[in-house]
């Protein structure tokens, strides 16, 4: 660890600025040869599996458009879960630093939800750790999304493919 703030994990309502976060990670890990990042965004349409609910059955007419996402979480457990995921990633790959930011509250369509940025000497560790952290966050971190559109709102359902993505990492060990 090169710098006290090389590891930054945060749950916040405020937006984040990706460029600023990547610069901060780069400066905190000057020996890094690779930084990889993932940004999760609020779509402007209802999630496909739910498109027949909430009066959103015909995307062509704009009925499927999404206004916002409300994200709830379990304060206390969320931070512990994110830290545990980061520790697992750090135990598996030679990471130099990490920025993991997840937003909560009401987020408008196209707003950024989550940032995972990993820093390492060489690219493979940063690529793999970034994917691993997102796959685990999807199944282990207590966040819940509600989609809000012109004609209603509904809770997003968990997807079996997310659990499969996590299981693949266990088989790869």
């Amino acid at each position: 660890m090169a710098h006290a703030d090389a590891w930054h994990i945060c749950v916040q309502a405020e937006p984040f600025e990706v460029g600023q976060e990547l610069n901060a990670l780069q400066q905190a890990t000057p020996q890094a040869g690779a930084i990889v990042n993932f940004i999760g965004l609020v779509r402007d349409q209802f999630s496909p599996s739910e498109a027949s609910n909430a009066g959103a059955d015909n995307p062509d007419t704009g009925k499927g458009s999404l206004e916002a996402m409300q994200i709830e979480h379990y304060p206390g457990m969320t931070e512990k879960a994110l830290n545990a995921i980061a520790q697992q990633a750090a135990a598996r790959w030679p990471l130099l630093g990490l920025r993991l930011i997840h937003r909560i509250g009401r987020l408008e369509a196209q707003a950024p939800i989550v940032l995972v940025a990993t820093s390492s000497l060489h690219r493979q560790a940063a690529f793999e750790a970034c994917a691993f952290i997102m796959d685990y966050l999807k199944t282990d971190a207590p966040f819940w999304k509600k989609e809000i559109g012109p004609q209603g709102e509904h809770w997003v359902e968990a997807r079996a493919t997310d659990e499969q993505a996590k299981q693949q990492w266990k088989h790869a060990q």
Binding site: H73, G76, H102, I113, K138, F143, W144, V156, A158
Partner: protein
């Protein structure tokens, strides 16, 4: 035994509670026993825990299975499968 129970997301809306303190009768010492005891409150609670939808549980911020045991002062949480990211 006294525990705090928290409810999140869809489950919070269904039961209309976000948290409550409960005093459990003797014999209610596991998650599955707690679910069964809560199911006795009425139809809404019975349907919530009848297995038709997945309800995850945590004790003191750790995900647990149904056989996990409760201790005095624990914080128990019930919530649907998570959907962050």
């Amino acid at each position: 035994m006294n525990v705090t129970i928290l409810y999140f997301a869809r489950i919070k809306e269904v039961v209309n509670y976000s948290s409550e303190q409960v005093s459990l009768p003797d014999g209610v010492e596991t998650i599955i026993a707690l679910k069964s005891w809560l199911s006795g409150r009425g139809e809404v609670w019975k349907k919530l825990f009848d297995g038709s939808s997945v309800v995850r549980a945590a004790i003191n911020h750790e995900l647990v299975d149904e056989l996990a045991t409760l201790d005095e002062g624990d914080e128990v949480a019930f919530f649907p499968p998570v959907t962050g990211g």
